[in-house]
């Protein structure tokens, strides 16, 4: 049963990924990309990694794709089509992709994966404890670093978004 679901998901993802890079309409590409991301969430569900699957859905499908759709809506008209790339560029991209695929396949096939016995699905509580623990295997440092990074990004976005207004207010004061 799991095998079939996996292959169905894999086919959907591969087809959507190819369609995403070959479609000439921008928003359609975005929607195909959305299918790929939802497929990845499906694979997380399949391996019983519910939390990561839901994060994948919220962050990638619900967040990033919506932002991309927004930017496409703002800059793109429905009748516009993307330009076709020139032949040398196509060949070069194809070659690079083949090299990338080769490296991936070699690493995957040369690594010997171990089947985990008596697997237990992770609960949200475990993840929370892992993120906040100081002991070995705890992730408190990366967690805090990321939160500082996100804060910096947010402040940066506000500064850029406000633009002139910020400096103008300073002058008045």
């Amino acid at each position: 049963m799991e095998k079939f679901v996996f292959y169905i998901l894999a086919i959907i993802m591969i087809v959507a990924a190819i369609a995403s890079v070959s479609s000439r309409k921008m928003l359609r590409s975005v929607v195909y990309l959305l299918f790929v991301l939802i497929g990845i969430a499906g694979i997380y569900f399949l391996i019983d990694y519910n939390f990561l699957a839901a994060v994948q859905l919220t962050v990638y499908a619900g967040g990033i794709i919506v932002l991309v759709i927004f930017s496409v809506l703002l800059v793109h008209h429905i009748e516009m089509e993307l330009e076709m790339a020139k032949l040398p560029a196509k060949i070069l991209t194809g070659l690079l992709c083949l090299v990338g695929l080769g490296i991936f396949l070699i690493t995957i096939y040369s690594y010997d994966f171990k089947v985990v016995e008596n697997y237990k699905s992770t609960s949200v509580a475990d993840i929370g404890r892992g993120l906040l623990s100081y002991d070995a295997g705890g992730f408190i440092l990366p967690f805090e670093v990321i939160s500082v990074l996100l804060l910096a990004a947010m402040i940066g976005a506000i500064i850029i978004g406000k633009g002139d207004k910020l400096t103008k207010n300073d002058e008045i004061v």
């Binding site: 919220t58 619900g62 949200v124 509580a125």
Partner: protein, 350 residues
């Protein structure tokens, strides 16, 4: 439940394991689709009746007893209508968009425990999954607006996107406030915790604030009045579904009502004890759970309809100011208040 157990055994005795499990999945899907259709249709009727009541009219009362068949007739009409499309629309996306909206609504529906045992998908991240799914639905609206190739549809879709993204935060944070008390995201466990008093009683002041915020943000997230800028008919025609007709329009329309049901059901489950009866008066009859669940949900739906026919529509800037300058800071403070309360053990438990 006993019936489902016997059907389950009967199916597995009849067929090889794999076909049986597939047939079982299909059966469950069909049952949920039926619930979806019936709930959607009768919520439309309820909305019209409530609207009529608020405006001192009678409402639909000709088709069937007390107008009970009115929406069925409407649905038949919509099915038989021609599907139109604008000339330069993006046909693929135009046809795809309604399914995003309706599938996300249907998936969310499968999570609710209607009674102790009647729950299709008891995932351990329940509430988080609901939030994740609801963030997919907006993509359908954005696509519908863009692919119709119509400026009104486009403006409606943009407004909907802004609105849903902003108010999702408040929905998530107000639910998170409640999760602090339950210590679990799983819906069945959240209800287990409420055997010692519904969460709105257990958490008293911060829980009540969270409930108010959730109701406001939930109304906004379903794009209902007073937050229905998406389809403000005086400015935008019908908003993002201006160009849709027939059954495709009906998908959007049904999904909107199902989303209202979902918001109300989340509120009933998280704040008011889901299928639990008040003071445990019918605890010995687990089948009555469905009655209590629906009763609580319908009261909250009635509240949302009351909003709709009472408040005038907000402007888009007022809408965003309400979220970012009032609800969000209030919500964050409320979260800290609740965390301190749980830490100091100030919750009320029976």
């Amino acid at each position: 439940m006993n019936i489902t157990k016997s059907i389950h055994e009967w199916l597995f005795s009849l067929m090889p394991e794999m076909t049986a499990s597939i047939v079982e999945m299909v059966l469950i899907a069909v049952i949920y689709l039926a619930i979806f259709a019936v709930a959607g249709l009768y919520l439309v009727l309820l909305e019209r009746k409530v609207a009529a009541w608020f405006q001192l009219r009678l409402g639909p009362n000709r088709v069937g007893y007390l107008g009970l068949l009115q929406t069925l007739a409407d649905a038949l009409k919509l099915v038989s209508k021609e599907l139109t499309i604008t000339e330069k629309a993006d046909k693929f996306l135009y046809n795809l968009a309604p399914y995003f909206v309706i599938i996300s609504a249907l998936m969310a529906l499968s999570l609710f425990p209607f009674t102790q045992e009647f729950q299709a998908f008891d995932i351990n991240i329940g509430i988080f999954f609901l939030i994740a799914i609801s963030s997919i639905g907006v993509i359908g609206i954005l696509l519908a607006g863009w692919s119709s190739n119509n400026k009104f549809a486009m403006i409606g879709a943009m407004r909907s996107g802004v609105q849903t993204i902003s108010y999702e935060l408040s929905v998530g944070l107000s639910l998170l406030t409640m999760v602090l008390m339950t210590g679990s995201l799983q819906l069945s466990e959240i209800i287990e915790v409420q055997k010692h008093g519904w969460l709105i009683v257990q958490g008293h002041i911060p829980a009540f604030i969270a409930f108010c915020i959730f109701l406001i943000a939930g109304t906004a997230e379903t794009n209902r009045a007073p937050f229905d800028l998406v389809e403000a008919e005086s400015e935008l025609g019908a908003g993002f579904h201006t160009e849709y007709s027939g059954m495709k329009f009906a998908y959007f329309f049904l999904a909107e009502f199902i989303n209202m049901f979902i918001i109300a059901a989340i509120a009933a489950t998280v704040f008011f004890g889901g299928y639990l009866s008040p003071f445990g008066i019918t605890e010995s009859i687990p089948l009555l759970g469905i009655f209590w669940f629906l009763a609580k949900t319908l009261v909250i739906i009635f509240l949302m309809m009351w909003f709709r026919w009472t408040f005038p529509r907000l402007r888009i800037d007022q809408l965003l100011i309400l979220e970012w300058k009032y609800l969000l800071p209030l919500n964050l403070m409320n979260l800290i208040l609740m965390a301190m309360m749980v830490l100091l053990g100030l919750t009320i438990q029976f």
